[in-house]
C-alpha cells in the first residue's frame, strides 16, 4: 500500500505540489493525469525518494520514504521520465549491474536478467551498447530495469511516450500482466492509455488533485456521457423532432460533416432508447447510430482549463 499524506513540494518560491493526499492499494493501476507542469513527475520523484518532500509523508508498505529510504526503495521499481540508462554500457552489462544492486548474487543474477530480457523482448540488443539503441528499445531497457526485482510497487513516468503503436500496445499489455498483485502508478498525457490500462485515474492540476475515480466515473462527468451520435444520409431537422424529449439537452451539428449530429443528454441521463424510438417513428434517414461513453479528453479539458480560467 502507498500512503501519500498531505504532501507538499516547493522549489524555492514555486509550489510544485501542494497538500496531496491519496492511498493506492494492491491490484490498482493508477493513472496520473495532468497538463504539462501540473506536478505529475514531481509527485513521482517524491514517492520514489529522489526528492525530499517539503511537508507531508509518503509510506510504501509502512516504510517512510525519508526515514527508511533503503527499505522503501527496495519495494519500488521506477522508470524515470525519458528512461535514462548508462549509455556506455551494453544492455547486458547494465542489467547485470541493476541485478547486483538489487541484491542478487551468483546464478540468481543470470536468472533474473534472462527473465526480464524475455519479458520485454530485448534478446536482439542484448550485447549492444545502450547509446546505439532506438528510443523504443531504450524505453524497454528502462522497463526491464524497473521490473528486475519483481517489485511490489511499479512507478512508470510516461512509459509509452515516443513509442510506435505496436510498442505502445506491447508495453500496455506488459503493464496489465504485471498489475495483478502489484501497485502500478503510471503518469501519462495520453488519455486513451488511461481507459486501456488503468483501474483508477487521478487528474492533478497546479499541484492539486482535481479529480479522482475510475476511468468510467470520470468519463461519466463528460457532457458527452450518454450522448447519441448519429449520421444521416440526407438532412433532416432533428431538433424539432427532439423538442418533445425531456431528457435531451440539445443537438450539436458537426462542423466538418453537416450530416453528423451529436444529441447530448441532460445531466447524463440515458436517452438512447428514447432517441432510437423517435428515429424509427419519425423515419430519420439514419446510416450510423451509436452511444457515447463520454470523452475523457473532454473531462480533462473542462477540469484543467476551468481552473486556469479562474486563476486568470
Amino acid at each position: 500500500m502507498i500512503e501519500v499524506d498531505h504532501l507538499t513540494k516547493k522549489f524555492d518560491q514555486v509550489t510544485a505540489i501542494s497538500d496531496l493526499s491519496f492511498t493506492v492499494v494492491e491490484g490498482e493501476v493508477l493513472g496520473f493525469l495532468g497538463p504539462n507542469g501540473a506536478g505529475k513527475s514531481t509527485t513521482m520523484k517524491v514517492i520514489t525518494g529522489f526528492l525530499f518532500p517539503t511537508e507531508g509523508t509518503v509510506k510504501i508498505d509502512g516504510f517512510d520514504i525519508t526515514r527508511s529510504p533503503i527499505e522503501a526503495k527496495s519495494l519500488i521499481g521506477y522508470l524515470p521520465e525519458g528512461a535514462p540508462c548508462y549509455g556506455d554500457m551494453t544492455t547486458r552489462e547494465f542489467l547485470y549491474f541493476i541485478a547486483r544492486i538489487r541484491g542478487y548474487r551468483g546464478a540468481e543474477i543470470k536468472n533474473r536478467v534472462d527473465r526480464v530480457v524475455k519479458e520485454v523482448a530485448l534478446e536482439t540488443v542484448f550485447h549492444q551498447s545502450i547509446d546505439t539503441l532506438s528510443k523504443g528499445f531504450k524505453r524497454r531497457v528502462g522497463l526491464a530495469q524497473a521490473i528486475m526485482h519483481d517489485p511490489k510497487v511499479l512507478i512508470l513516468d510516461e512509459p509509452t511516450d515516443g513509442l510506435d503503436p505496436n510498442q505502445k500496445h506491447h508495453v500496455r499489455e506488459l503493464i496489465k500482466n504485471l498489475a495483478k498483485d502489484k501497485i502500478v502508478i503510471i503518469s501519462t498525457h495520453i488519455l486513451e492509455e488511461v481507459s486501456a490500462v488503468c483501474t483508477r485515474a487521478i487528474i492533478i492540476d497546479q499541484g492539486k488533485i482535481v479529480a479522482d475515480g475510475t476511468p468510467a466515473e470520470l468519463e461519466s462527468r463528460s457532457r458527452y456521457h450518454q450522448a447519441v451520435s448519429i449520421r444521416l444520409t440526407t438532412s433532416h431537422d432533428l431538433a424539432a423532432d427532439l423538442a418533445g424529449c425531456p431528457d435531451v439537452d440539445h443537438v450539436e451539428q458537426d462542423s466538418e460533416d453537416p450530416l453528423r449530429y451529436t444529441i447530448l443528454a441532460k445531466d447524463g441521463k440515458p436517452i438512447f432508447s428514447a432517441v432510437s424510438e423517435l428515429a424509427q417513428s419519425k423515419h430519420w434517414p439514419v446510416s450510423e447510430f451509436h452511444i457515447n461513453k463520454g470523452q475523457l479528453e473532454d473531462v480533462f479539458r473542462t477540469i484543467t482549463q476551468g481552473l486556469h480560467r479562474e486563476i486568470k
Binding site: G49, C85, R100, G103
Partner: protein
C-alpha cells in the same frame, strides 16, 4: 560484494568502455617521460632517485586529474541517470565513495604503469626504494585530493567543461597556497597563524616532504582529511542540486 563495490566496478568499467581511460593513461605516461627526462634533467643530475619525476606531478595532475573527475556527477545529471541511481536502494555515501574510488583507481593504474621509471633508476644506480615507495604513495594521495575537489565541482554543475575549469582553478589555488609566492604576498602585519594556516593547506608543502622521503604520517593525514571533507561537500551539493 557490497553496493560500494558494485558501483566502483561499474564506474571503473565505464572509464574503460570509452577511450577516456586509455587516453588518460597514455598521455600521463608521455608527459611523465617528457617532464622527467627532458625538463627534469634526470640524467644530468647524476643521482639515482626519482625526484624530478615526482616533483612535476602536482603540475601534471593539475590538468589531468580534473579531466577524469569532471564527468563523475555532471554526466549523471546531464543524462538523468542520477534519478535512476538515487532511487536504487543504495546510500548516497556508497555512490559518492564508489565513484571517487573508481576515479582514484584509474589514477592508481596510470601511476602504477610508470614502473619502467623505477626499473630505469634501479638499473642505473642504487636508489633508496623506500623513499620511492613513499613518494608513489604520496603522489597517489595527492591525486586523490585533486579528485575529491573534482567530485564536488562535478556535482555542482550539469556541464562537465564547467566542472573541469572550476576544478583546475581550485586545485591551482591549493597547489600554490603553500608556495613562497603566495606567502610573501601577505602584508607584514598579518598574524603569523594565518600565514601558517595557509602554508599548511598547500599541497606542495605536504607533497615536497613526502617526495623527499620524509615520511610523516601528518602529511598523509592531511590528504586523507582533505579528501574526506571534499567528498562530504560533494554529498551535500548532490542533495541540494539534484532537483534542478
Amino acid at each position: 560484494m557490497g553496493n560500494l563495490g558494485i558501483i566502483f566496478r561499474r564506474e571503473l568499467a565505464s572509464y574503460f568502455a570509452t577511450p577516456l581511460a586509455y587516453i588518460f593513461i597514455v598521455i600521463f605516461l608521455i608527459m611523465n617521460g617528457i617532464f622527467t627526462f627532458d625538463l627534469g634533467g634526470f640524467y644530468l643530475r647524476g643521482q639515482a632517485d626519482l625526484l624530478p619525476f615526482f616533483s612535476f606531478h602536482p603540475w601534471l595532475y593539475l590538468f589531468m586529474v580534473p579531466a577524469v573527475a569532471m564527468g563523475l556527477w555532471a554526466d549523471e545529471r546531464k543524462t538523468g541517470t542520477i534519478e535512476l541511481l538515487m532511487t536504487l536502494p543504495i546510500k548516497l555515501s556508497e555512490a559518492v565513495l564508489g565513484k571517487f574510488l573508481a576515479a582514484w583507481g584509474l589514477t592508481g593504474i596510470a601511476l602504477f604503469l610508470t614502473f619502467p621509471f623505477w626499473i630505469t633508476v634501479n638499473y642505473l644506480g642504487d636508489p633508496d626504494n623506500g623513499v620511492i615507495m613513499a613518494a608513489y604513495l604520496g603522489s597517489w594521495f595527492m591525486a586523490g585530493g585533486f579528485l575529491a575537489i573534482g567530485s564536488c565541482m562535478s556535482a555542482s554543475t550539469k556541464n562537465p567543461v564547467i566542472a573541469f575549469i572550476l576544478t583546475v582553478s581550485i586545485c591551482f589555488l591549493f597547489v600554490v597556497m603553500g608556495s613562497p609566492i603566495v606567502l610573501n604576498a601577505f602584508p607584514q602585519w598579518t598574524p603569523q597563524f594565518i600565514v601558517d594556516a595557509f602554508a599548511a593547506m598547500g599541497f606542495l608543502t605536504h607533497f615536497d616532504s613526502i617526495s623527499k622521503g620524509v615520511l610523516d604520517i601528518r602529511d598523509f593525514l592531511f590528504f586523507a582529511i582533505f579528501i574526506f571533507s571534499w567528498l562530504l561537500a560533494s554529498a551535500i551539493v548532490i542533495e541540494i542540486k539534484k532537483a534542478n
